[in-house]
């Protein structure tokens, strides 16, 4: 019997993994095990075969290569043009520190015994043993900050929710992952769903919640399916400790990733942002104390509990502790998921690890942190990847997405797109965001057309100041980041 591992991650499926799995399943003596993705996305579809010496990988397996690669793999990991060798020896994986993604791509995501054999379940067991207060103390000691974008300390959020009074409390997992250039939440849900469930169970125990929701965007049908199945297994095994978890699916709205809009959406309403205070921790879902955390924040809780907050906090730089699952995307030779301690420079990530552009042309601009993140020129490549270092350069790391553009990019068009996107996705509640984004787009159109360029650039800068100061949430409030950084670092693209 030969065991073949073929990812069922969306990124692998999108480039042909299903055809390989179907062909492999017809081979005699072969067991196909569907896994998540290792995160070496330029090598997808990447398949692995179990040999006495460990797993051997091949990729990217194109439609024309399937037969020959399967032959080589089944022959005990024999040579082939696409043979990569042991995946864990690949430099892209070797340089990583995988804590949140330790199992992703290795295990069968829906096998509870695989999960446990690879360290799953220990965090919740320990949380049960030490109790709620000590659990929160571990999270606080780890220095874990919210991975959804705002970087708020998770321990403080949990403590606030624990201390809040309420007849019931909720854990809400934000799996709306709308930022362009990001896919780590999706990969984790597709590749290691029990980690998220365990993390939610730990959070529920810590704050005294009786119900959890996972709000997944509708663009992720596979993640929804895997999470549903995993929850069914968890429920059947009584792993949820009296805190049932329900999956809710979004309906194509970016702003619903903002935590208060998400709560409105969960209540069945328009996804409109709420004014704060009250904080969700005090009055969140249906007015009850609620923890809203990103997928990665919650899925990191188990490893923190298992190994201790201090062990997690040993990694990282300055006030950014632990590791960040960084997502390398866009025009890059080596796109994929790279989990590493905070502190690598942007240049290391783009050039050394990402391998430069896929097109082979020079890198011109890098957008970090999604559609509301700043564009960085190569001149700022020495910026270390951590929350404060990016803020000091008028940028943000957000959910950890890095999107690379080559020198064919037109930065005035990118600035225009940022405004257009904000106009499309604005929830409409506040004027600076709703009207400002439309005016911003129109004004940039005039700049592109060469009308009163200097005066119109000044107008856009003014408008950005208003949006930054006056918007209710970070949609309107942060769209100045991509716009102003484009003007500041790439002014030549705005001038006739």
């Amino acid at each position: 019997m030969t065991n073949l591992f073929i990812p069922r991650d969306s990124a692998a499926v999108a480039v042909g993994a299903e055809e390989i799995a179907a062909t492999a399943a017809r081979r005699r003596g072969v067991t196909v095990i569907r896994t998540g993705s290792r995160g070496l996305h330029w090598l997808e579809p990447l398949i692995e075969v179990e040999t006495p010496a460990g797993r051997v990988a091949y990729g990217p397996v194109g439609a024309d290569d399937i037969t020959a690669v399967l032959d080589a793999a089944i022959a005990g990991g024999a040579p082939h043009r696409l043979r990569i060798g042991k995946p864990e020896d690949h430099p892209f994986l070797k340089r990583q520190t995988r804590l949140t993604f330790s199992r992703c791509g290795i295990i069968d995501p829906l096998s509870w015994s695989d999960y446990v054999a690879h360290g799953g379940g220990k965090g919740l067991t320990r949380a049960r043993a030490i109790g709620a207060d000590a659990t929160i103390a571990e999270i606080t000691a780890s220095g874990l900050r919210g991975r959804g974008g705002a970087g708020f300390p998770a321990g403080i959020k949990w403590k606030t929710t624990r201390d809040a009074k309420g007849d019931n409390k909720y854990i809400v997992c934000n799996a709306d992952e709308g930022d362009s250039g990001t896919f780590a939440d999706r990969m984790l849900m597709e590749g290691d769903p029990f980690a998220l469930i365990e993390g939610m169970a730990i959070a529920a125990l810590a704050v005294g919640a009786t119900k959890g929701f996972i709000y997944i965007r509708s663009e992720y049908p596979l993640a929804i399916a895997v999470m549903r199945e995993a929850l069914g297994i968890a429920r059947a095994r009584n792993l949820l400790d009296g805190c049932d978890i329900e999956i809710r699916v979004g309906a194509g709205s970016y702003v619903c990733g903002e935590e208060t809009a998400l709560l409105e959406s969960l209540e069945g309403k328009r996804g409109q942002v709420r004014a704060k205070p009250p904080l969700p921790a005090h009055a969140g879902l249906f007015g009850r104390p609620t923890v809203v955390n990103n997928v990665l924040t919650l899925a990191t809780a188990p490893v923190i509990l298992a190994d201790g907050g201090a062990a997690y906090a040993k990694h990282g730089a300055a006030k950014s502790r632990g590791t960040m699952p960084i997502q390398l995307a866009g025009n890059l030779k080596h796109g994929g998921l790279f989990e590493a301690p905070f502190g690598l420079t942007l240049g290391e990530l783009v050039t050394d690890i990402g391998g430069g552009t896929a097109s082979g042309r020079p890198v011109r601009a890098v957008q970090v942190g999604g559609p509301l993140g700043a564009y960085f020129p190569p001149a700022l490549f020495d910026t270390p990847f951590d929350y404060e270092a990016f803020a000091a350069k008028d940028g943000l790391i957000g959910h950890g997405g890095i999107v690379v553009f080559d020198d064919t990019v037109d930065m005035a068009r990118q600035a225009r797109f940022a405004m257009e996107f904000c106009a499309i996705e604005s929830c409409g509640k506040c004027t600076p965001c709703r009207i400002g984004s439309v005016r911003g787009k129109e004004t940039i159109d005039r700049i592109i057309a060469g009308e009163n360029v200097a005066a119109n650039i000044a107008l856009v800068e003014d408008l950005c100041a208003t949006m930054k100061a006056g918007s209710l949430c970070a949609l309107g409030g942060f769209v100045p980041y991509p716009v102003l950084s484009a003007i500041r670092h790439f002014r030549e693209d705005f001038e006739p």
Binding site: W42, G181, F183, A251, S253, K269
Partner: protein
Amino acid sequence: MSAPIAWTPARAAEIILSLKHLDGACLPILRAIQAEFGHVPPEAVAMVADALNLSRAEVHGTFSFYHDLRAEPAGRTVVKLCRAEACQAMGGDALAERAMRKIGVDWHGTTADGRVTLEPAFCLGLCSTAPAAMVGERVVGRLDETTLGRLLDAAP
């Protein structure tokens, strides 16, 4: 995803009944109705309002907020092409323009023969295998003009 079935109030009532116990049931019900019938007709909005003791304006407010929900049926295959930054960096804009020219529709448009509706998506989480699209519920990455053209031609 199976093909939508023709609208019947009786089937809609069954869907509403099966989900109305949920907390914040309005959006899950609207989604389920759209999944079944391919759209949410005004009659459905009224039925949901009655069942949940909400005003029609409230349910319509929810309905009209979300990009996914539509009042009219779409073409037989909905193609969502990613318009967001990582796909732009890999030539997504030019690809979208060629696709639109090929099938003769703009964003949100449906081909004259009712085969394809073209919708923009803002990131599909396939940013490392860009440009990306969803054809029905099938995800596709590393698109170029040839592969996208083939997918559009193959749509039933």
